[in-house]
């Protein structure tokens, strides 16, 4: 194996960075939609709220597991970076964790506690989802700014916090279009249309800011011929945004045609944006300070995880798809029987 791939100190960190990137991307799409549904929660009626919970209830546990995998991979593959990034982001991480705790337990409590308390758990479900999204957006902004904490970078991070929360609402709305029908679906179409601006502004802000923070990133994007190879990325993203805009103005179509399309386009858009970010920051795991090669654990430990991951990750993906398939179709209210 080593003959095939050359120096394991080179390809192993790369493989782990790729695996971690994949986990983060899957997390952002999957937990993105269920956090987004949480953020949209107060805008729905009580009956609709139960249906919204029904559309994410069987999935959210598994969705959050991708975050555990991503931070776990950062922890095991790049321990120095894990310490550097997380102790710098101490407070936003804390806020995110509190948010995740509150929304996760509110899921269960709102359905099981006495009905007088349901309002409280609904509020915590919304608040927890919003806090999680804002904290993640804030961390993303600070990360793009090279983890420096000055008034300007904090202001930028505040912006990305808002954009990511709106972005999650957007993909959440697309999920609801796919999984619901009737009045709620029409509402979701409207929510999708109204939150699309957040996606556009957020992606625009990040695309503009990152090359100006680092000349290295600027050179990676705007030198010839790389600019040519990279041009499809912004062009396709632009096309997707236009397609989403057109669709969301016309939906829902009779017979529920194309209900799956907005979510698929949104996922593609998120994937492209993520790919752009990954390209910008490679090979750094801590921007401009620590590369994946410097931060990596010992090759023999990485190898033993990778061997396991090669067997297990496809199985995980297979049974996750299976679980989604079982609950395919329009969401119903959740029942234990």
């Amino acid at each position: 194996m080593i003959d095939l791939f050359g120096d394991p100190a080179i390809w192993l960190p790369f493989a782990f960075a790729a695996l971690m990137g994949l986990s983060i991307l899957i997390y952002v799409v999957l937990d993105g939609f269920d956090l987004g549904v949480g953020i949209l929660f107060p805008m729905a009626s009580r009956v609709e709220q139960d249906r919204m919970i029904g559309s994410i209830g069987p999935f959210w546990d598994a969705n959050e597991t991708w975050l555990v995998l991503a931070v776990g991979l950062l922890l095991v593959a790049f321990p120095t970076a894990h310490g550097m990034i997380l102790s710098t982001l101490y407070l936003p991480v804390f806020i995110m964790l509190i948010g995740l705790i509150l929304r996760g337990v509110a899921f269960e409590f709102r359905a099981k506690a006495r009905s007088e308390h349901k309002r409280l758990w609904n509020a915590l479900f919304f608040g927890g989802s919003l806090a999680t999204a804002l904290a993640q957006g804030f961390m993303l902004g600070l990360y793009i700014m090279g983890l420096d904490q000055t008034p300007e970078t904090l202001a930028f991070a505040t912006l990305t916090a808002v954009f990511l929360a709106v972005g999650y609402s957007f993909i959440g709305a697309c999920w609801l279009i796919f999984k619901t029908e009737g009045a709620l679906q029409r509402k979701a179409v409207r929510w999708g249309r109204e939150s699309l601006w957040g996606v556009i502004l957020g992606m625009g802000a990040v695309s503009l800011a990152s090359p100006f923070v680092s000349t290295r990133i600027f050179d990676k994007w705007f030198s010839w011929p790389e600019a040519l190879w990279l041009s499809p990325l912004p062009l396709v993203s632009g096309g997707l945004v236009v397609a989403l805009w057109v669709l969301l103005r016309r939906m829902p179509f009779p017979g529920d045609r194309k209900a799956w399309v907005p979510f698929t386009l949104a996922t593609t858009l998120f994937t492209l944006a993520f790919g752009g970010l990954a390209y910008s920051f490679y090979p750094y795991v801590v921007p401009e300070r620590l590369t994946i090669y410097e931060a990596a654990s010992a090759p023999e430990s990485l190898l033993i995880i990778l061997v396991g991951a090669c067997f297990v990750v496809p199985v995980i993906i297979a049974y996750s798809i299976f679980a989604y398939a079982i609950f395919r179709g329009k969401a119903t209210d959740l029942r234990y029987d």
Binding site: A62, H82, L86, A298, F327
Partner: protein, 475 residues
């Protein structure tokens, strides 16, 4: 207070809160599988009624476990970066295998287990229940492997201050792992047994005479009565294993300052670390020597052996270990007496079992009110014993983080103390609120089951094809 002690309290608070819920889900998953399989075999609705009641508590506990577990994985980085920097090559793969092999399995199939009963064939629902139970136990296995390795590390070498794995077999099957794993699994079984018995006794006292309550009360009490002697036996051999590998911990558990023979078992004492002696000792002569060495004149290690020439103390703080150990053992003895008395009373008056005389070994009618009240009072006793046990072993490892390899102080992050204090107080407030809400919901679900929610037609077994009465949406 400084960052170190605050970070320790914060981690201790987080992990204490976390362990409460896996302690329930590890064993409750298997109990639910038992209910599910019995329903499949007999078609008797009492099994499905029990399944549907307890699966709600499982779902709630599972969610609490997931969210508090996520907190743990982040705190390694936010508060203890030195841990992964030093032993990351060993801890990393173990944690990764936990997430990859176990966490995903539970999380993916719990959806089917909870909400799939009417969507998937019966065998698949049973399989999903099995996979969730199995995943939960596998998850516990990997975590216990890492934890045990921190107590009894082997299979590695230190290169430039960083641990590198040399033998994964030795790392995974480190000397204390089998004992600790068995001790924890049985602890989970006991916690669940007393929870089921306590909640069922509560329903019984409120006048609930449905067949599923009768059954779960018997199952809970019988499970407790069977498991508690096993646990006492495993606890004893685990203690002997600790004596071999971490004598300073055993010295603190016994409150024994000087290495000596004929050491008494102390029932009460106030260890004084300043004076390095105990005050107000009450003990049973020779018993500690006898328990630890099986000879009345056996030698028991003393704490004074673990003080360096320069006065550096290399043994754990004595009082917390001494007292946690006594709380754990005391709770265990209370569990033993209550469960055996309850089984005996139910067996002696088995002819009282309503309807059928033959074929029933136990009758709930045999339990006097006092015993039922005691079962209710002990519903969460498993939590107390589990926490006390973990405090004994984890505080008992101090000042080491990884025994003989690195101290806790070497791993702590340089976060300002006021910031840690702020986050700690917030966590504590939220955890207190959530535990309160959790117990409140368990009580509420039990009360609701007593009044409304009439399950199947009582006293008549149903065929598997019988129509399952619908629950209210979102329940």
């Amino acid at each position: 207070m400084d960052t170190l002690i605050l970070s320790r309290i914060q981690f201790g608070a987080n992990i204490s809160f976390h362990i409460l819920f896996p302690t329930i889900t590890i064993a409750l998953g298997w109990v639910l599988l038992f209910f599910r399989v019995r329903y499949g075999q007999t078609g008797d609705m009492k099994w499905m009624d029990a399944y549907r009641f307890w699966v709600k508590i499982f779902a709630l506990s599972f969610a609490m476990g997931v969210v508090s577990g996520i907190t743990m994985s982040f705190q390694f980085g936010t508060n203890w970066p030195g841990f992964m920097e030093t032993v990351g090559n060993i801890a990393g793969p173990l944690l990764a295998y936990e997430v990859l092999t176990a966490f995903f399995l539970e999380a993916a199939f719990i959806g089917i287990m909870l909400f799939g009963f009417s969507r998937v064939p019966g065998w698949l629902h049973t399989l999903a229940t099995f996979l969730v139970a199995f995943g939960t136990m596998l998850s516990a296995f990997w975590i216990i492997v890492l934890n045990s390795w921190m107590h009894t590390p082997q299979g590695f070498e230190m290169i430039d201050g960083v641990a590198h794995a040399t033998d994964w077999g030795a790392i995974i099957f480190n000397p204390s792992m089998p004992y600790r794993f068995a001790h924890m699994i049985i602890a989970s079984g006991l916690t669940v047994a007393f929870l089921i018995a306590g909640v069922s006794a509560f329903r019984w006292l409120l006048g609930d005479r449905k067949r599923d309550v009768r059954m779960t009360l018997k199952v809970g009490v019988a499970m407790a009565a069977v498991l508690i002697p096993v646990q006492i036996f495993i606890g004893d051999i685990h203690g002997l294993n600790t004596l071999e590998n971490q004598p300073q911990k055993v010295a603190a558990m016994e409150g024994n300052w000087e290495t000596s023979t004929n050491v008494p078992l102390l029932l009460f004492a106030i260890p004084d670390e300043e004076a390095r002696e105990n005050r107000f000792e009450v003990g049973i002569p020779n018993l500690a020597s006898w328990i630890l060495t099986h000879h009345a004149d056996g030698e028991v290690p003393g704490l004074n052996d673990f003080v360096a020439e320069d006065g550096t103390v290399m043994h754990p703080p004595v009082a917390p270990v001494f007292w946690s150990f006594r709380i754990m053992v005391g709770t265990g003895l209370a569990m033993l007496s209550l469960s055996w008395v309850a089984v005996f009373l139910m067996w002696r008056r088995r002819h009282l079992h309503q309807g059928q005389i033959a074929g029933h070994w136990l009758a709930v009618e045999g339990l006097p009110k006092l015993v039922l009240y005691a079962l209710v009072a002990m519903a969460f006793s498993g939590w107390l014993a589990t926490l006390a046990g973990w405090y004994t072993t984890e505080i008992g490892r101090q000042p080491w983080l990884v025994q003989g390899v690195m101290t806790t102080a070497q791993a702590v992050a340089d976060v300002p103390a006021p910031m840690v204090l702020g986050t700690l107080l917030t966590y504590l407030a939220i955890y207190a609120g959530l535990i309160f809400a959790y117990i409140g919901v368990v009580v509420y679900l039990a009360r609701k089951a007593v009044i409304g929610d009439t399950p199947s037609f009582p006293e008549t077994p149903q065929s598997p094809k019988a129509i399952v009465p619908a629950l209210q949406p979102g329940e």
